[in-house]
Amino acid sequence: MTVLLSPRRRFLLAGAALAAAIIAALLWLGSLRHALTHFSANIHQTCGQPVSLRAEGYNLLGGTRYGTDAGDPGDDVDLAHLDICDPVVQVLAHGEERLWFWLEVTATGQTFPYYAWGIPEEDIHNPNANEYRDPVDPLWDYRAITVLRYELADGYWQTGRGELCPLNPNELPPINLFIDSGSPFRIPLGGTRAAWVCVRMGFGQPLPNALVINFRPQLTRLTRWVDKPFDIAEDTAPTYTPFGEVRRRYLLPVLHTNEEVCAYAQEAHPESIGPGGCPPVPGMGNP
């Protein structure tokens, strides 16, 4: 033992090797344990409580272990806060049903677009690998809002997608729309865009009893998109009275004409009404 403990002998490397072996073993064993489901939705629940839209951060170290629990968002980018309020169902005279709601998006971050480089036919026009490494404001257009049927029937999820209401000014009330043209737009960092969104199922179909609106701006690699579920009605399908009226037990307020929708919008968000104001609601002021 005297020899082993002699100050002439040092055993730093043996100790370092032992420590390195333990570290290596822990890392290899640790790699057999996964941390989280990376991609999921942030579900918006209540008006006034905005939820976060998140995208991949800039990652040159290959990390996948951030965000190990629900309260830990990790190193993703907080891209925007979305709030959804004041939903209302519009039932038109010819039976078409629309869902209106107020969407407020506050841009809180920028996204790394990571777009395209690596596809030869596109790179030919832009052979610059550096092009997409700087963050940009995400792009919003009609594809950023998806309408999904969200109901079970006979134990199966029903398929079907809805759409944004066509941008025909003659068919819509004169209120500000979040998607107001076919052109994409960006919300600058720190800015807010708030306006109405109108969706329908298309092809004359009624709204389902429940649907989910999915928010997913373009050119972004989202890790947490935003879902907003809406309960529209209780009945499994519309029924018709002997007089041809549609009878559904709606769970949201119901309006009928565009004038009513405009008045509703004016009451909820006066700033969302166009310069001409709302047209008078038929019958109002005519005793």
Binding site: V3, L13, N59, R65, I119, A129, N130
Partner: protein, 453 residues
């Protein structure tokens, strides 16, 4: 006396002239070789009616993983593909490419303002730095031996914007460090040991090929430890066992450096496996296992042999060269060449009047590990890249073809063959391996370009 002392002093001095000449020649060969490969790609694209595609250099963009590596370096690691489509866990993720080379390329992207050939510049820099490392490992004074690193079999991969050159550089530095002469000063050994650990981590984070280096470095450490133990000087007094144990455990044992280098590789690989396994246990390993097709039934010897013979069988039976056959040929060439290097000291030995230079056991272990990985996984593609990027293969090849200090250099081999002496057979074999290596570079270029790989 002066005349006699001078050569000895020259022998001990560092061969700056040879090393600098070798670095220059390697730079020239890699640049010219790259442009030759690029020209082949351009001709190919023009031939198939897409001349516009020729605006990208093949070695920077079309070849292998080059553009993927630059894309990751520019954009960072992502779970999406370039179309922003949803990914599935079993689709090859970005994380299948290890991070060191990618971060060096990201740095080059910054320096070049976004040049899509940034990866190629990183590789070229690594290749230029390789000759002094080769010199350090082999102690050679022959420039050609150092230049030979740019003319290796399957060497086309060393001209591309890919990680092979960088991996060779780092693993070469580690091997050089591990072969250092042990010092009686503990501080020097401790520094070497910690350096080995850090270099090992770097190697483990550069390419998954580091897996095949682990047995080689581990055996190197064991052999150096045994050599250290056999030196019984200072162990005459009793108790011998206690003193021997202390001697093996203390910092003068050069085996620790190799062991720490090996552990460093394990830590580097472990870091990457841990870092990338957030979604799924052993994510990268799972993705690699599920992504690639299997060329043969893994672990099945007849299937393995049948696979190896398939290419030649088709060729000789007149069936032509179906799509995968060139790869069979490349893999067959890799196996043959590696087999020669492993078995070169088997009897009968040449030359008979000189001791043979056996292939070190640790080298054989590393090369056999590549075979083992291939055999167990049932996946043989890129086998030639695994050998090309293996520092043990590279050093063995260079010493075999260009000769150690006491062997005739490459330029003398034709004369040795013509002399028909006892050395002739071995000299002819060395020349044949060299010619085969040179021929494989354009052959692989043709395969690469024709099959768009």
């Amino acid at each position: 006396m002066t005349a006699a002392a001078s050569p000895r002093r020259d022998d001990r001095s560092y061969p700056w002239d040879a090393v600098i000449l070798a670095m220059l020649l390697v730079a020239v060969i890699v640049v010219l070789g790259s442009y030759a490969v690029d020209a082949a790609w351009t001709i190919r694209w023009t031939d198939v009616g897409r001349p516009v595609a020729g605006q990208f250099r093949g070695t920077c963009y079309w070849m292998g993983d080059a553009r993927l590596l630059v894309r990751i370096a520019g954009n960072g690691y992502s779970d999406y593909d370039v179309n922003l489509a949803y990914r599935h866990l079993t689709i090859l993720p970005d994380r299948s490419w290890w991070p060191v080379y990618i971060n060096l390329t990201a740095l080059a992207l910054r320096l070049t303002g976004g040049d899509y050939c940034s990866g190629w510049w990183v590789n070229l820099s690594a290749m230029i730095l390789l000759p002094p490392v080769i010199q350090g490992i082999t102690s050679t004074r022959r420039p050609l031996l150092m230049v030979g690193v740019a003319l290796l079999p399957f060497g086309i991969w060393l001209y591309a914007g890919m990680a092979e050159g960088t991996f060779l550089l780092f693993s070469g530095l580690l091997l050089w460090l591990l072969l250092h002469r042990p010092s009686e000063r503990w501080g020097v050994n401790v520094l070497a040991g910690i350096g080995g650990l850090l270099l090992g981590v770097l190697v483990g984070l550069t390419k998954p090929n580091a897996l095949a280096l682990i047995p080689g470095f581990a055996l190197l450490g064991l052999s150096r430890t045994l050599e250290h133990a056999r030196n019984r000087a200072g162990l005459a007094t009793r108790p011998l066992l206690l003193r021997l144990t202390a001697r093996l455990l203390d910092d003068t044992n050069p085996g620790w450096t190799a062991l720490l280098g090996t552990l460093g590789i394990l830590i580097g690989l472990g870091l990457w496996f841990y870092q990338t396994s957030g979604y799924y246990p052993g994510y990268v390993l799972m993705a690699q296992r599920t992504l690639w097709y299997k060329e043969f039934d893994g672990g099945n010897i007849p299937a393995f042999l049948n696979y190896l013979a398939l290419g030649w069988q088709n060729f000789f039976s007149g069936k032509g060269l179906p799509d995968p056959t060139p790869w069979n040929m490349m893999e067959f060439a890799a196996l043959t060449m590696t087999g020669i290097l492993i078995a070169r000291d088997l009897p009968p030995r040449w030359p008979s009047d000189r001791p043979a230079h056996p292939t070190a056991v640790y080298t054989v272990a590393s090369l056999l590990t590549v075979f083992g990985l291939m055999f167990v996984s049932g996946q043989a593609h890129s086998l030639e890249r695994y050998f090309l990027g293996n520092i043990f293969f590279v050093i063995t090849f260079l010493r075999y073809v260009y000769g150690d200090a006491d062997e005739p250099p490459l330029a003398d081999l034709p004369r040795v063959v013509r002399a028909r002496g006892p050395d002739s057979l071995r000299a002819a074999l060395r020349l044949a391996v060299f010619a085969c290596a040179l021929a494989l570079i354009p052959l692989e270029t043709i395969i690469m370009v024709v099959y768009g790989l």
